[in-house]
Symmetry: C2
Subunit: 298 residues, 2 copies
Protein backbone atom coordinates (compact mmCIF):
# COMPACT_ATOMS: atom_id res chain seq x y z
CA UNK A 1 0.00 0.00 0.00
CA UNK A 2 3.06 2.28 -0.01
CA UNK A 3 2.24 3.65 -3.45
CA UNK A 4 -1.19 4.76 -2.23
CA UNK A 5 0.46 6.65 0.64
CA UNK A 6 2.55 8.64 -1.79
CA UNK A 7 -0.23 9.40 -4.29
CA UNK A 8 -0.22 13.16 -4.80
CA UNK A 9 -3.58 14.91 -4.49
CA UNK A 10 -4.98 16.37 -7.72
CA UNK A 11 -3.83 19.85 -8.80
CA UNK A 12 -0.59 19.57 -6.79
CA UNK A 13 3.01 19.53 -7.95
CA UNK A 14 2.94 22.30 -10.56
CA UNK A 15 6.46 22.85 -11.90
CA UNK A 16 5.92 26.62 -12.30
CA UNK A 17 8.56 28.81 -10.71
CA UNK A 18 6.38 31.69 -9.55
CA UNK A 19 9.26 34.22 -9.69
CA UNK A 20 7.76 36.30 -6.89
CA UNK A 21 10.60 38.83 -6.99
CA UNK A 22 9.89 39.60 -10.67
CA UNK A 23 6.34 40.68 -9.83
CA UNK A 24 7.79 43.67 -8.00
CA UNK A 25 10.02 44.67 -10.93
CA UNK A 26 7.99 46.31 -13.73
CA UNK A 27 11.02 46.53 -16.07
CA UNK A 28 11.68 42.81 -15.71
CA UNK A 29 8.03 41.95 -16.42
CA UNK A 30 8.06 44.23 -19.49
CA UNK A 31 11.16 42.42 -20.76
CA UNK A 32 9.50 39.04 -20.22
CA UNK A 33 6.46 40.24 -22.14
CA UNK A 34 8.54 40.88 -25.26
CA UNK A 35 10.72 37.79 -24.78
CA UNK A 36 10.43 35.69 -27.97
CA UNK A 37 10.40 32.58 -25.78
CA UNK A 38 7.37 33.74 -23.76
CA UNK A 39 4.23 31.62 -23.94
CA UNK A 40 0.54 32.28 -23.30
CA UNK A 41 -1.73 29.64 -21.75
CA UNK A 42 -4.54 28.68 -24.13
CA UNK A 43 -7.92 28.89 -22.41
CA UNK A 44 -11.37 28.55 -23.95
CA UNK A 45 -13.08 30.93 -21.50
CA UNK A 46 -11.97 29.13 -18.34
CA UNK A 47 -11.57 25.65 -19.81
CA UNK A 48 -8.09 24.28 -20.54
CA UNK A 49 -7.28 23.78 -24.19
CA UNK A 50 -5.82 20.29 -24.13
CA UNK A 51 -3.57 19.28 -27.01
CA UNK A 52 -3.38 15.94 -28.78
CA UNK A 53 -0.72 14.85 -26.25
CA UNK A 54 -3.16 15.40 -23.37
CA UNK A 55 -1.09 18.32 -22.08
CA UNK A 56 -1.95 21.98 -21.57
CA UNK A 57 -1.98 24.11 -24.73
CA UNK A 58 0.37 27.12 -24.98
CA UNK A 59 0.84 29.63 -27.79
CA UNK A 60 3.40 32.33 -28.63
CA UNK A 61 2.78 35.46 -26.57
CA UNK A 62 3.01 37.74 -29.62
CA UNK A 63 -0.36 36.41 -30.80
CA UNK A 64 -1.98 38.65 -28.15
CA UNK A 65 -2.60 42.36 -28.62
CA UNK A 66 -0.44 44.63 -26.46
CA UNK A 67 -3.40 46.06 -24.59
CA UNK A 68 -4.72 42.70 -23.31
CA UNK A 69 -4.07 42.57 -19.56
CA UNK A 70 -1.90 39.60 -18.60
CA UNK A 71 -0.83 37.87 -15.43
CA UNK A 72 2.70 36.48 -15.15
CA UNK A 73 2.25 32.88 -14.07
CA UNK A 74 6.00 32.39 -13.74
CA UNK A 75 8.70 30.44 -15.54
CA UNK A 76 8.45 26.86 -16.77
CA UNK A 77 11.19 25.10 -18.77
CA UNK A 78 12.99 28.44 -18.50
CA UNK A 79 10.33 30.24 -20.54
CA UNK A 80 8.11 33.06 -19.19
CA UNK A 81 4.48 31.97 -18.95
CA UNK A 82 1.49 34.31 -19.01
CA UNK A 83 -2.29 34.07 -18.97
CA UNK A 84 -4.72 36.63 -20.41
CA UNK A 85 -7.11 38.26 -17.92
CA UNK A 86 -10.41 38.31 -19.76
CA UNK A 87 -13.04 40.59 -18.22
CA UNK A 88 -16.46 39.08 -17.66
CA UNK A 89 -15.42 35.43 -17.65
CA UNK A 90 -17.69 33.62 -15.23
CA UNK A 91 -16.44 31.17 -12.64
CA UNK A 92 -19.66 29.26 -12.83
CA UNK A 93 -19.06 27.65 -16.21
CA UNK A 94 -18.36 24.17 -14.92
CA UNK A 95 -19.30 21.41 -17.28
CA UNK A 96 -18.71 17.71 -17.91
CA UNK A 97 -16.33 18.79 -20.73
CA UNK A 98 -14.26 20.79 -18.22
CA UNK A 99 -13.84 17.85 -15.87
CA UNK A 100 -13.12 15.48 -18.76
CA UNK A 101 -10.33 17.82 -19.88
CA UNK A 102 -8.90 18.00 -16.36
CA UNK A 103 -8.80 14.21 -16.17
CA UNK A 104 -6.40 14.09 -19.13
CA UNK A 105 -3.91 16.43 -17.41
CA UNK A 106 -1.16 15.26 -15.06
CA UNK A 107 -1.56 16.56 -11.47
CA UNK A 108 1.37 18.95 -12.13
CA UNK A 109 -0.22 20.38 -15.29
CA UNK A 110 -3.60 20.52 -13.56
CA UNK A 111 -1.84 22.57 -10.85
CA UNK A 112 -0.59 25.09 -13.40
CA UNK A 113 -4.10 25.28 -14.88
CA UNK A 114 -5.56 25.72 -11.36
CA UNK A 115 -3.25 28.67 -10.70
CA UNK A 116 -4.23 30.36 -13.97
CA UNK A 117 -7.93 29.64 -13.62
CA UNK A 118 -8.17 31.02 -10.08
CA UNK A 119 -6.29 34.18 -11.08
CA UNK A 120 -8.37 34.84 -14.21
CA UNK A 121 -11.60 34.29 -12.32
CA UNK A 122 -10.58 36.54 -9.43
CA UNK A 123 -9.75 39.46 -11.72
CA UNK A 124 -13.02 38.96 -13.64
CA UNK A 125 -15.06 39.34 -10.45
CA UNK A 126 -12.89 41.85 -8.56
CA UNK A 127 -12.55 44.90 -10.82
CA UNK A 128 -13.84 47.30 -8.15
CA UNK A 129 -12.48 48.31 -4.76
CA UNK A 130 -14.48 46.72 -1.92
CA UNK A 131 -13.29 49.54 0.34
CA UNK A 132 -14.60 52.49 -1.74
CA UNK A 133 -16.32 51.18 -4.91
CA UNK A 134 -13.85 52.74 -7.38
CA UNK A 135 -12.58 50.77 -10.40
CA UNK A 136 -9.18 49.23 -9.59
CA UNK A 137 -5.99 48.77 -11.62
CA UNK A 138 -3.87 45.68 -12.13
CA UNK A 139 -0.51 45.61 -10.33
CA UNK A 140 2.23 43.13 -9.27
CA UNK A 141 2.25 41.54 -12.75
CA UNK A 142 -1.34 40.40 -12.31
CA UNK A 143 -1.05 39.16 -8.71
CA UNK A 144 -3.02 42.05 -7.23
CA UNK A 145 -5.19 45.09 -7.86
CA UNK A 146 -4.74 48.58 -6.47
CA UNK A 147 -7.30 51.34 -6.02
CA UNK A 148 -6.30 54.68 -7.59
CA UNK A 149 -8.86 56.45 -5.38
CA UNK A 150 -8.30 55.18 -1.81
CA UNK A 151 -4.99 53.38 -2.31
CA UNK A 152 -6.20 50.00 -0.98
CA UNK A 153 -4.30 46.98 -2.28
CA UNK A 154 -6.19 43.77 -2.99
CA UNK A 155 -4.81 40.27 -3.49
CA UNK A 156 -6.42 37.13 -4.93
CA UNK A 157 -8.57 35.24 -2.47
CA UNK A 158 -7.88 31.69 -1.39
CA UNK A 159 -10.71 30.31 0.75
CA UNK A 160 -9.73 27.51 3.15
CA UNK A 161 -12.15 24.58 3.20
CA UNK A 162 -11.96 21.64 5.59
CA UNK A 163 -12.84 18.21 4.15
CA UNK A 164 -12.87 15.29 6.52
CA UNK A 165 -13.62 11.71 7.37
CA UNK A 166 -15.14 11.12 10.78
CA UNK A 167 -14.03 7.69 11.99
CA UNK A 168 -15.97 5.50 14.46
CA UNK A 169 -14.37 2.35 15.84
CA UNK A 170 -10.84 1.09 15.30
CA UNK A 171 -8.92 -1.49 13.29
CA UNK A 172 -11.18 -3.96 11.50
CA UNK A 173 -14.24 -2.31 13.09
CA UNK A 174 -13.41 1.20 11.85
CA UNK A 175 -16.02 2.95 9.73
CA UNK A 176 -15.99 6.43 8.22
CA UNK A 177 -18.81 8.84 7.49
CA UNK A 178 -19.67 9.64 3.87
CA UNK A 179 -22.41 11.89 2.60
CA UNK A 180 -24.00 13.00 -0.62
CA UNK A 181 -25.06 16.47 -1.65
CA UNK A 182 -28.23 16.85 -3.70
CA UNK A 183 -26.28 17.80 -6.86
CA UNK A 184 -23.95 14.76 -6.85
CA UNK A 185 -24.05 12.22 -9.71
CA UNK A 186 -26.25 9.21 -8.88
CA UNK A 187 -24.65 6.89 -6.31
CA UNK A 188 -21.72 9.16 -5.43
CA UNK A 189 -20.78 9.77 -1.80
CA UNK A 190 -17.82 11.76 -0.55
CA UNK A 191 -16.19 13.18 2.57
CA UNK A 192 -18.07 16.01 4.30
CA UNK A 193 -16.68 19.51 3.81
CA UNK A 194 -17.26 23.17 4.55
CA UNK A 195 -15.68 26.62 4.54
CA UNK A 196 -13.48 27.55 7.47
CA UNK A 197 -14.67 30.80 9.08
CA UNK A 198 -12.89 33.80 10.62
CA UNK A 199 -11.72 32.96 14.14
CA UNK A 200 -11.42 29.21 13.54
CA UNK A 201 -8.51 26.79 13.47
CA UNK A 202 -8.58 23.84 11.06
CA UNK A 203 -9.39 21.58 14.00
CA UNK A 204 -12.28 23.79 15.18
CA UNK A 205 -13.76 24.02 11.68
CA UNK A 206 -13.65 20.22 11.26
CA UNK A 207 -15.48 19.73 14.56
CA UNK A 208 -18.08 22.41 13.80
CA UNK A 209 -18.86 21.17 10.29
CA UNK A 210 -19.30 17.55 11.39
CA UNK A 211 -21.62 18.65 14.19
CA UNK A 212 -23.63 20.98 11.95
CA UNK A 213 -24.02 18.57 9.06
CA UNK A 214 -24.16 15.19 10.80
CA UNK A 215 -24.83 15.88 14.50
CA UNK A 216 -21.67 14.13 15.72
CA UNK A 217 -19.00 15.34 18.16
CA UNK A 218 -15.39 14.54 17.21
CA UNK A 219 -11.94 14.74 18.78
CA UNK A 220 -8.34 13.96 17.78
CA UNK A 221 -8.53 15.82 14.46
CA UNK A 222 -5.56 14.83 12.29
CA UNK A 223 -4.35 16.60 9.13
CA UNK A 224 -3.67 14.32 6.15
CA UNK A 225 -3.16 16.39 2.98
CA UNK A 226 -4.12 19.53 1.09
CA UNK A 227 -4.83 20.62 -2.48
CA UNK A 228 -5.80 23.76 -4.37
CA UNK A 229 -9.32 23.54 -5.85
CA UNK A 230 -9.83 26.12 -8.60
CA UNK A 231 -13.66 26.39 -8.60
CA UNK A 232 -13.08 29.23 -8.01
CA UNK A 233 -10.15 29.25 -5.52
CA UNK A 234 -10.25 27.05 -2.45
CA UNK A 235 -7.52 25.48 -0.34
CA UNK A 236 -8.86 22.02 0.54
CA UNK A 237 -7.51 20.81 3.91
CA UNK A 238 -8.14 17.09 4.37
CA UNK A 239 -8.39 15.59 7.87
CA UNK A 240 -9.53 12.54 9.80
CA UNK A 241 -11.31 12.94 13.15
CA UNK A 242 -12.50 10.37 15.70
CA UNK A 243 -15.95 10.07 17.23
CA UNK A 244 -17.14 7.92 20.11
CA UNK A 245 -20.84 8.04 19.14
CA UNK A 246 -22.07 7.09 15.67
CA UNK A 247 -25.65 8.39 16.04
CA UNK A 248 -26.33 10.79 13.13
CA UNK A 249 -28.57 13.86 12.92
CA UNK A 250 -28.27 14.84 9.26
CA UNK A 251 -28.86 18.45 8.17
CA UNK A 252 -30.92 17.88 5.04
CA UNK A 253 -30.41 21.45 3.88
CA UNK A 254 -26.75 20.47 3.33
CA UNK A 255 -26.79 16.72 2.71
CA UNK A 256 -29.24 14.40 0.99
CA UNK A 257 -27.93 11.47 3.03
CA UNK A 258 -25.00 10.43 5.22
CA UNK A 259 -23.95 6.93 6.23
CA UNK A 260 -21.12 4.94 7.80
CA UNK A 261 -19.01 2.70 5.55
CA UNK A 262 -16.41 0.06 6.45
CA UNK A 263 -12.84 -0.30 5.19
CA UNK A 264 -13.94 -3.11 2.90
CA UNK A 265 -16.71 -0.95 1.48
CA UNK A 266 -14.33 1.96 0.84
CA UNK A 267 -11.85 -0.41 -0.80
CA UNK A 268 -14.61 -1.84 -3.01
CA UNK A 269 -15.76 1.65 -4.02
CA UNK A 270 -12.22 2.75 -4.94
CA UNK A 271 -11.69 -0.48 -6.89
CA UNK A 272 -14.83 0.18 -8.94
CA UNK A 273 -16.56 -2.95 -7.63
CA UNK A 274 -20.17 -2.79 -8.91
CA UNK A 275 -21.34 -4.26 -5.56
CA UNK A 276 -19.79 -1.35 -3.59
CA UNK A 277 -22.35 0.66 -1.60
CA UNK A 278 -21.26 3.97 -3.16
CA UNK A 279 -19.43 5.55 -6.08
CA UNK A 280 -16.29 7.40 -4.95
CA UNK A 281 -15.30 10.97 -5.81
CA UNK A 282 -13.08 11.44 -8.90
CA UNK A 283 -9.34 10.86 -8.62
CA UNK A 284 -8.46 14.59 -8.90
CA UNK A 285 -10.57 15.43 -5.79
CA UNK A 286 -8.75 15.32 -2.46
CA UNK A 287 -11.64 13.29 -1.02
CA UNK A 288 -10.28 10.46 -3.18
CA UNK A 289 -6.81 10.95 -1.66
CA UNK A 290 -8.40 10.98 1.79
CA UNK A 291 -10.10 7.59 1.21
CA UNK A 292 -6.90 6.15 -0.33
CA UNK A 293 -4.63 7.26 2.51
CA UNK A 294 -7.10 6.26 5.22
CA UNK A 295 -7.26 2.75 3.72
CA UNK A 296 -3.47 2.59 3.40
CA UNK A 297 -3.07 3.41 7.09
CA UNK A 298 -5.46 0.67 8.24
Amino acid sequence: MTSALTTAPGFTGSLLDRVDAARHDAALVAAMRVDAQALLLCLDELRPSVGADGGLGWTALDTVANDVPLALLGRLDDRPRFVALTPGVSALRRSPELFAAITTLSPAEAGTYATARSLVDWHARHGFCPNCGHATDLFRAGWGRICPSCGAEHFPRVDPVVIMLAQHGEGAHARVLVGRQPGFPAGRYSALAGFLEPGESVEAAVARELHEEAGIRVHSVRYLASQPWPFPSQLMIACVALTDDDALVVDHSELEEAKWVTRDEVAAALAGDPAAPFLPPPAYAIAHTLFTRWLAEG
Copy 2:
Protein backbone atom coordinates in the same frame (compact mmCIF):
# COMPACT_ATOMS: atom_id res chain seq x y z
CA MET B 1 6.99 16.94 27.85
CA THR B 2 3.41 15.70 27.42
CA SER B 3 1.93 18.99 28.55
CA ALA B 4 3.89 20.86 25.88
CA LEU B 5 2.45 18.55 23.22
CA THR B 6 -1.08 19.39 24.26
CA THR B 7 -0.60 23.17 24.57
CA ALA B 8 -3.34 24.77 22.49
CA PRO B 9 -2.20 27.47 20.04
CA GLY B 10 -3.33 31.01 20.84
CA PHE B 11 -6.82 32.12 19.72
CA THR B 12 -8.09 28.51 19.57
CA GLY B 13 -10.79 26.79 21.56
CA SER B 14 -13.50 29.47 21.54
CA LEU B 15 -16.62 28.15 23.27
CA LEU B 16 -18.96 30.04 20.92
CA ASP B 17 -21.68 27.97 19.29
CA ARG B 18 -21.80 29.68 15.89
CA VAL B 19 -25.47 28.68 15.30
CA ASP B 20 -24.98 28.59 11.53
CA ALA B 21 -28.61 27.58 10.89
CA ALA B 22 -29.88 30.70 12.69
CA ARG B 23 -28.00 32.95 10.24
CA HIS B 24 -30.38 31.80 7.51
CA ASP B 25 -33.50 32.53 9.62
CA ALA B 26 -34.22 36.27 9.81
CA ALA B 27 -37.11 35.80 12.27
CA LEU B 28 -34.90 33.87 14.67
CA VAL B 29 -32.15 36.49 14.51
CA ALA B 30 -34.74 39.26 15.12
CA ALA B 31 -35.97 37.37 18.20
CA MET B 32 -32.38 36.98 19.48
CA ARG B 33 -31.83 40.71 19.01
CA VAL B 34 -34.66 41.53 21.43
CA ASP B 35 -33.84 38.68 23.83
CA ALA B 36 -33.28 40.23 27.28
CA GLN B 37 -30.40 37.77 27.78
CA ALA B 38 -28.55 38.91 24.65
CA LEU B 39 -25.11 40.45 25.11
CA LEU B 40 -22.92 42.76 23.03
CA LEU B 41 -19.14 42.40 22.93
CA CYS B 42 -17.41 45.54 24.26
CA LEU B 43 -14.78 46.80 21.83
CA ASP B 44 -12.79 50.01 21.96
CA GLU B 45 -12.50 50.42 18.19
CA LEU B 46 -10.94 47.01 17.55
CA ARG B 47 -9.32 46.50 20.97
CA PRO B 48 -10.92 44.13 23.48
CA SER B 49 -12.32 45.79 26.60
CA VAL B 50 -10.86 43.54 29.28
CA GLY B 51 -12.60 43.51 32.67
CA ALA B 52 -11.02 43.38 36.13
CA ASP B 53 -11.20 39.57 35.96
CA GLY B 54 -9.04 39.55 32.82
CA GLY B 55 -11.97 38.31 30.71
CA LEU B 56 -13.72 39.83 27.69
CA GLY B 57 -16.18 42.63 28.48
CA TRP B 58 -19.86 42.20 27.47
CA THR B 59 -22.80 44.57 27.93
CA ALA B 60 -26.59 44.30 27.60
CA LEU B 61 -27.65 44.43 23.96
CA ASP B 62 -30.35 47.05 24.64
CA THR B 63 -27.63 49.64 25.22
CA VAL B 64 -27.22 49.80 21.41
CA ALA B 65 -29.49 51.79 19.11
CA ASN B 66 -31.75 49.69 16.88
CA ASP B 67 -30.16 50.97 13.69
CA VAL B 68 -26.60 49.91 14.55
CA PRO B 69 -25.68 46.99 12.27
CA LEU B 70 -24.76 43.89 14.25
CA ALA B 71 -23.25 40.50 13.54
CA LEU B 72 -24.53 37.46 15.42
CA LEU B 73 -21.40 35.83 16.87
CA GLY B 74 -23.44 32.89 18.20
CA ARG B 75 -24.47 31.55 21.60
CA LEU B 76 -22.26 31.30 24.68
CA ASP B 77 -23.52 30.13 28.09
CA ASP B 78 -26.88 29.88 26.33
CA ARG B 79 -27.04 33.63 25.67
CA PRO B 80 -27.07 35.23 22.20
CA ARG B 81 -23.87 37.16 21.54
CA PHE B 82 -23.51 40.03 19.08
CA VAL B 83 -20.87 42.50 17.97
CA ALA B 84 -21.49 45.96 16.50
CA LEU B 85 -20.21 46.54 12.95
CA THR B 86 -18.70 49.99 13.07
CA PRO B 87 -18.05 51.57 9.67
CA GLY B 88 -14.60 53.01 9.15
CA VAL B 89 -12.79 51.06 11.86
CA SER B 90 -9.25 50.44 10.63
CA ALA B 91 -7.55 47.08 10.80
CA LEU B 92 -4.20 48.75 11.17
CA ARG B 93 -4.61 49.97 14.74
CA ARG B 94 -2.29 47.43 16.30
CA SER B 95 -0.56 48.65 19.41
CA PRO B 96 1.36 47.42 22.44
CA GLU B 97 -1.86 47.98 24.45
CA LEU B 98 -3.75 45.64 22.12
CA PHE B 99 -1.25 42.84 22.56
CA ALA B 100 -1.05 43.40 26.32
CA ALA B 101 -4.85 43.01 26.49
CA ILE B 102 -4.73 39.81 24.43
CA THR B 103 -2.14 38.35 26.79
CA THR B 104 -4.61 38.57 29.67
CA LEU B 105 -7.26 36.56 27.79
CA SER B 106 -7.48 32.76 27.85
CA PRO B 107 -6.95 31.16 24.40
CA ALA B 108 -10.71 30.42 24.26
CA GLU B 109 -11.67 34.03 25.00
CA ALA B 110 -9.02 35.26 22.60
CA GLY B 111 -10.66 33.01 20.00
CA THR B 112 -14.03 34.68 20.53
CA TYR B 113 -12.35 38.08 20.26
CA ALA B 114 -10.53 36.95 17.08
CA THR B 115 -13.83 35.96 15.47
CA ALA B 116 -15.43 39.31 16.30
CA ARG B 117 -12.39 41.36 15.31
CA SER B 118 -12.00 39.70 11.90
CA LEU B 119 -15.72 40.15 11.16
CA VAL B 120 -15.83 43.82 12.20
CA ASP B 121 -12.71 44.60 10.20
CA TRP B 122 -13.98 42.79 7.10
CA HIS B 123 -17.25 44.72 7.04
CA ALA B 124 -15.42 48.01 7.60
CA ARG B 125 -13.28 47.44 4.48
CA HIS B 126 -15.80 45.62 2.29
CA GLY B 127 -18.84 47.89 1.98
CA PHE B 128 -18.75 47.85 -1.84
CA CYS B 129 -19.22 45.09 -4.38
CA PRO B 130 -15.88 44.05 -5.96
CA ASN B 131 -17.86 42.74 -8.95
CA CYS B 132 -19.68 45.98 -9.88
CA GLY B 133 -18.72 48.74 -7.41
CA HIS B 134 -22.21 49.23 -5.91
CA ALA B 135 -22.70 49.62 -2.13
CA THR B 136 -23.59 46.25 -0.57
CA ASP B 137 -26.03 45.25 2.18
CA LEU B 138 -25.48 43.08 5.23
CA PHE B 139 -27.04 39.60 5.15
CA ARG B 140 -26.81 36.22 6.91
CA ALA B 141 -26.89 37.91 10.33
CA GLY B 142 -23.61 39.70 9.61
CA TRP B 143 -21.77 36.73 8.03
CA GLY B 144 -21.95 38.10 4.50
CA ARG B 145 -22.82 41.02 2.25
CA ILE B 146 -25.04 41.00 -0.83
CA CYS B 147 -25.08 43.40 -3.76
CA PRO B 148 -28.52 44.87 -4.52
CA SER B 149 -27.32 45.79 -8.02
CA CYS B 150 -25.64 42.67 -9.49
CA GLY B 151 -26.77 40.11 -6.88
CA ALA B 152 -23.23 38.93 -6.00
CA GLU B 153 -22.84 37.45 -2.53
CA HIS B 154 -19.64 38.10 -0.57
CA PHE B 155 -18.33 36.30 2.49
CA PRO B 156 -15.62 37.26 5.00
CA ARG B 157 -12.11 36.49 3.82
CA VAL B 158 -9.79 34.11 5.61
CA ASP B 159 -6.30 34.17 4.10
CA PRO B 160 -4.23 31.01 4.58
CA VAL B 161 -0.63 31.61 5.66
CA VAL B 162 2.03 28.93 5.99
CA ILE B 163 4.48 29.29 8.90
CA MET B 164 7.25 26.79 9.15
CA LEU B 165 10.45 25.53 10.65
CA ALA B 166 12.97 24.15 8.19
CA GLN B 167 14.98 21.43 9.94
CA HIS B 168 18.54 20.41 9.04
CA GLY B 169 20.08 17.34 10.65
CA GLU B 170 18.46 14.88 13.00
CA GLY B 171 18.26 14.00 16.70
CA ALA B 172 20.86 15.84 18.78
CA HIS B 173 22.27 17.45 15.61
CA ALA B 174 18.94 18.90 14.47
CA ARG B 175 18.76 22.64 13.91
CA VAL B 176 15.88 24.79 12.72
CA LEU B 177 15.84 28.00 10.72
CA VAL B 178 14.67 31.21 12.39
CA GLY B 179 14.48 34.66 10.90
CA ARG B 180 13.74 38.22 11.87
CA GLN B 181 11.71 40.79 9.97
CA PRO B 182 12.83 44.40 10.09
CA GLY B 183 9.86 45.44 12.29
CA PHE B 184 10.43 42.82 15.02
CA PRO B 185 11.29 43.88 18.60
CA ALA B 186 15.06 43.79 19.25
CA GLY B 187 16.42 40.26 19.52
CA ARG B 188 13.26 38.47 18.42
CA TYR B 189 13.42 35.68 15.84
CA SER B 190 10.56 33.53 14.67
CA ALA B 191 9.55 30.90 12.14
CA LEU B 192 9.42 32.01 8.49
CA ALA B 193 5.96 32.58 7.04
CA GLY B 194 4.10 33.74 3.96
CA PHE B 195 0.71 33.85 2.25
CA LEU B 196 -0.38 30.76 0.36
CA GLU B 197 -1.29 31.64 -3.24
CA PRO B 198 -3.99 30.45 -5.65
CA GLY B 199 -3.05 27.08 -7.14
CA GLU B 200 -0.87 25.99 -4.21
CA SER B 201 -1.15 23.23 -1.64
CA VAL B 202 0.11 23.82 1.91
CA GLU B 203 3.15 21.70 1.08
CA ALA B 204 3.92 23.67 -2.10
CA ALA B 205 3.58 27.02 -0.33
CA VAL B 206 5.96 25.93 2.46
CA ALA B 207 8.58 24.86 -0.10
CA ARG B 208 8.19 28.04 -2.18
CA GLU B 209 8.40 30.42 0.79
CA LEU B 210 11.51 28.77 2.23
CA HIS B 211 13.18 28.91 -1.16
CA GLU B 212 12.19 32.53 -1.80
CA GLU B 213 13.15 33.85 1.63
CA ALA B 214 16.12 31.67 2.56
CA GLY B 215 17.28 29.95 -0.64
CA ILE B 216 16.80 26.42 0.69
CA ARG B 217 15.05 23.43 -0.89
CA VAL B 218 12.93 21.31 1.47
CA HIS B 219 11.04 18.02 1.40
CA SER B 220 8.89 15.95 3.78
CA VAL B 221 6.66 18.87 4.79
CA ARG B 222 4.67 17.91 7.89
CA TYR B 223 1.65 19.74 9.31
CA LEU B 224 1.78 20.43 13.06
CA ALA B 225 -1.01 22.83 14.08
CA SER B 226 -3.16 25.78 13.03
CA GLN B 227 -4.61 28.95 14.53
CA PRO B 228 -6.73 31.91 13.47
CA TRP B 229 -4.78 35.19 13.47
CA PRO B 230 -7.10 38.20 13.52
CA PHE B 231 -4.75 40.89 12.09
CA PRO B 232 -6.90 41.07 10.03
CA SER B 233 -8.01 37.49 9.27
CA GLN B 234 -5.42 34.82 8.55
CA LEU B 235 -5.44 31.05 9.02
CA MET B 236 -1.94 30.22 10.22
CA ILE B 237 -0.88 26.71 9.14
CA ALA B 238 2.22 25.57 11.03
CA CYS B 239 4.55 22.97 9.51
CA VAL B 240 8.01 21.43 9.80
CA ALA B 241 10.00 20.61 6.65
CA LEU B 242 13.37 18.90 6.16
CA THR B 243 16.32 20.15 4.18
CA ASP B 244 19.53 18.37 3.20
CA ASP B 245 21.53 21.55 2.56
CA ASP B 246 21.85 24.31 5.16
CA ALA B 247 23.42 26.97 2.89
CA LEU B 248 21.30 30.13 3.10
CA VAL B 249 20.58 32.83 0.52
CA VAL B 250 18.52 35.34 2.50
CA ASP B 251 16.08 37.67 0.70
CA HIS B 252 16.79 40.90 2.54
CA SER B 253 13.65 42.53 1.19
CA GLU B 254 11.74 40.07 3.42
CA LEU B 255 14.13 39.22 6.25
CA GLU B 256 16.73 41.21 8.14
CA GLU B 257 18.54 38.00 9.07
CA ALA B 258 18.05 34.23 9.20
CA LYS B 259 20.09 31.65 11.11
CA TRP B 260 20.12 28.04 12.26
CA VAL B 261 19.51 27.30 15.96
CA THR B 262 19.91 24.06 17.90
CA ARG B 263 17.40 22.32 20.17
CA ASP B 264 19.26 23.57 23.22
CA GLU B 265 19.16 27.13 21.87
CA VAL B 266 15.40 26.92 21.20
CA ALA B 267 14.84 25.49 24.68
CA ALA B 268 16.90 28.30 26.23
CA ALA B 269 14.94 30.91 24.28
CA LEU B 270 11.57 29.49 25.35
CA ALA B 271 12.77 29.30 28.96
CA GLY B 272 13.70 32.99 28.90
CA ASP B 273 17.39 32.27 29.47
CA PRO B 274 19.25 35.59 29.06
CA ALA B 275 22.09 33.70 27.34
CA ALA B 276 19.76 32.38 24.60
CA PRO B 277 20.72 33.52 21.08
CA PHE B 278 17.25 34.93 20.37
CA LEU B 279 14.02 36.09 21.97
CA PRO B 280 11.08 33.86 21.03
CA PRO B 281 7.70 34.96 19.63
CA PRO B 282 4.92 35.60 22.18
CA ALA B 283 2.96 32.67 23.60
CA TYR B 284 -0.23 33.53 21.65
CA ALA B 285 1.59 33.24 18.29
CA ILE B 286 1.58 29.80 16.66
CA ALA B 287 5.31 30.15 16.03
CA HIS B 288 5.65 29.66 19.80
CA THR B 289 3.53 26.48 19.58
CA LEU B 290 5.70 25.34 16.67
CA PHE B 291 8.91 25.72 18.71
CA THR B 292 7.30 24.05 21.74
CA ARG B 293 6.00 21.05 19.82
CA TRP B 294 9.17 20.64 17.79
CA LEU B 295 11.17 20.53 21.04
CA ALA B 296 8.71 18.09 22.63
CA GLU B 297 9.09 15.71 19.68
CA GLY B 298 12.86 15.67 19.86
